[in-house]
Structures are given as C-alpha cells and as structure tokens.
C-alpha cells in the first residue's frame, strides 16, 4: 500500500466531509505535489469524492440533513453544465481555469466568513417527527441542538445558474465543484449550511460517478491506486461526517470559509 496516498486521502476527505466540499479539490493538488501526474490524479480525485460521499451519506441521511429534492434539482443544472464544460474543455487554458476557480473559492470563503449569526432559527411547535424534507417542494426541517429549524430554498434561478457555472467548471477541470455548490446553496439559496453541506455531499457523489464512468471507458483508472485512495477516503469521510454532526452552523461556516481560502491559495500556487 502507498501510505502517502492513503494518508492524503484520509485528511482531505475528512476536511471535505466537514465542509461539504468533497476532498478532491485538496487531494488532487497534493497528489500532484507528491509526484502523481495530473492525468493520473484526476480520476483518483473523483474516486475520493465518490467514496467520501458514500461513507458520509448514511450518517447525514439518518440525521435528516440531506434534502434530496433540492440536491437532484440543482444537480440537474450542474450536470448539464458539466456536459457543456466537458465539451468545451480545451477552449480555456489550465492556468486561466485555475485562477477562475481560485477567485470563486476565495470569494465564497470571504462571503461565508463575513456573515454573522444564524439565518434560519428554530421554530416553536416542531418536533423530531417533523425532521426531513417536504413533499413537492424544496423545503424541510432539520434538528439544531434541542430545536427544530424549518427552511425553504430561495432564489432557485440564481442558485441554479451558479450550479450550472459550477458544473461547467467541473467539466473543464475534473473537480467535483463542491466548493462552489455548498456556498451557493447556503449563501444564495439561504439553505442552512449543514443541510447545504450534507446535500452537496450527496450530489457530488453523482457527479463523480458520471466522471468515473468516462475515465473507466478511457482506460484511465489505476485500480490499485484507486483502492488505496478509496480506503483512505472512507476512513476520512466517516471521521469528517461525525465531526460535522457535532458542530453548530457557525463553526461549520467558519471551517468552510477557512477551507475555501486554503483551496484558493493552493489553486493560485498551482497556476
């Protein structure tokens, strides 16, 4: 076993699960820095995201944090964008793309850090029996400490447009786009950050699965390296999702903000 790959997968997947980012945006640059070629690192990044999404999913689902209707609706725009981005790949230089990604990550991190307080507050009269998502709408209730918080996704057109952009960036770069999706869901659509992070963890699994099918068809998967990354990512994501479930929204937002700034710096350095 390649212990360096394993350790990188554990750490980056744990960070990705806490912030709802997916670990690939951190893992891929670090793999390249440790000698893996970018062509080989990209599929390993998607393996990490898919494994982390699967491992974190059960806990987040049981906690009633995932809004599937919201995730699938927004993922439709992201996947459409990803197809467009994949078709358009080659039109933008790697350096320009990395700088755009860095600017988006930095802006999202700063905006997330600037906001104070909790937007969605617990409501009277709700119980644990109300936790979950609602029939026919992009709304639901989640548990926050001893309270129960209702929420409803707002500004769907703006959010969908950002998801489309995230998809285009993902299609161009091979990243999962989670570092755009979670802030877009939280800051633009006003969905509580823990719900946004958990829902993004679900959707990036779908995106990664689609990408991995392509890489498999192109014979770009080194299965033994995939296995190492897979094992490390499951361990990391299990730890990360356990940590996330114990943190309040303000802590998750601060963590997310810090992680986004780190991502932006890594991208600028790589550009």
């Amino acid at each position: 076993m390649n212990w360096t790959e394993f350790a990188l997968a554990v750490v980056t997947s744990a960070v990705g699960a806490v912030g709802g980012l997916g670990g690939a945006v951190l893992l891929v640059p670090f793999l390249v820095l440790t000698g893996t070629t970018p062509r080989a690192a990209a599929p390993l990044g998607l393996v990490s995201v898919a494994a982390g999404s699967s491992a974190a999913g059960a806990r987040q689902l049981s906690a009633g944090l995932v809004n599937h209707r919201l995730g699938i609706t927004t993922e439709l725009f992201a996947s459409g964008g990803a197809v467009a981005g994949a078709l358009a790949s080659g039109l933008a230089s790697d350096r320009a793309l990395k700088l755009v990604l860095a600017a988006v990550a930095f802006a999202a991190g700063v905006l997330s850090a600037k906001r104070k307080g909790i937007r969605n507050l617990p409501a009277e009269g709700l119980t644990s029996g109300d936790v979950g998502e609602h029939f026919g709408s992009l709304s639901g209730v989640y548990q926050l400490a001893d309270g129960f918080v209702p929420y409803r996704a707002k500004r769907l057109p703006s959010g969908a447009a950002l998801f489309g952009v995230a998809g285009i960036l993902a299609g161009l770069s091979g990243a999962s786009g989670g570092f755009v999706k979670t802030p877009a869901t939280s800051e633009v659509m006003h969905v509580p950050v823990r719900v946004a992070a958990a829902t993004t963890t679900f959707t990036i699994g779908v995106t990664s699965a689609a990408g991995l099918i392509v890489f498999a068809l192109q014979d770009r998967l080194n299965l033994l390296s995939c296995a190492t990354i897979c094992a490390g990512s499951i361990v990391g994501a299990t730890v990360g999702s356990a940590v996330q479930s114990r943190l309040g929204p303000a802590h998750v937002r601060r963590f997310l903000s810090a992680a986004l700034v780190v991502v932006a710096v890594v991208l600028v350095v790589r550009a």
């Binding site: 197809v83 026919g136 699965a209 689609a210 299965l223 033994l224 296995a227 897979c230």
Partner: protein, 97 residues
C-alpha cells in the same frame, strides 16, 4: 415561513437507504483494503469491485428516489430525477466518444 411549514407534508424517507449505504461503504472499505494491501490479480479484482460499487451507489440512489417520488405522487421531482440520470448518461457517452 411557519405557516407554510404547517401546510407542508413530510415525505417519509425510503426505508433501508441508510443501512444500504452503510453496507456499501463497508463493502467498499473491505474490497479497497484488500486491493491496496494484497495487490496482484486478486487485489486488482477486489479494487475493481470497490470502484464499481462507489459508481453504482449514487446513481442507484437517484433512480430509487425517482421511483419513490413517482409512487407517492410527487411526479415533478420524479421526472427531474429521471432527467438527471439521462443527463449523466448522455454526458458519459458524449465524453467517451
């Protein structure tokens, strides 16, 4: 918002999804560890199983959600789920060409 919430109908989650995800994760962890540690042909087969499972799980989850929403009458979101699978499949085909 509370008034709207009071009128909202809670959708029961699909039974068995969380346990299935746990079993899938355990299977992936087991097969990926075997693949990474053992290596060789046996390890490669085990690693292939782990990758196949992590690809299949999210797509099957979307399909199951679509079927569930269709069965409970939430047709709009069932169609969105089907459309998502079509987009994902089309993207894979286009990119592979």
């Amino acid at each position: 918002m509370n008034d709207r919430h009071d009128a909202a109908r809670l959708d029961s989650p699909i039974a068995g999804v969380a346990p299935t995800l746990r079993i899938a994760s355990a299977l992936v962890l087991l097969t990926s560890l075997v693949g990474a540690i053992v290596g060789g042909n046996f390890g490669t087969v085990a690693a292939g199983i782990s990758v196949a499972v992590i690809v299949a799980v999210p797509l099957l989850r979307v399909a199951a959600l679509g079927v569930h929403w269709w069965s409970v009458g939430d047709r709009r979101f069932a169609i969105i789920a089907a459309a998502l699978l079509v987009v994902v499949g089309s993207g894979a085909i286009i990119a592979a060409l």
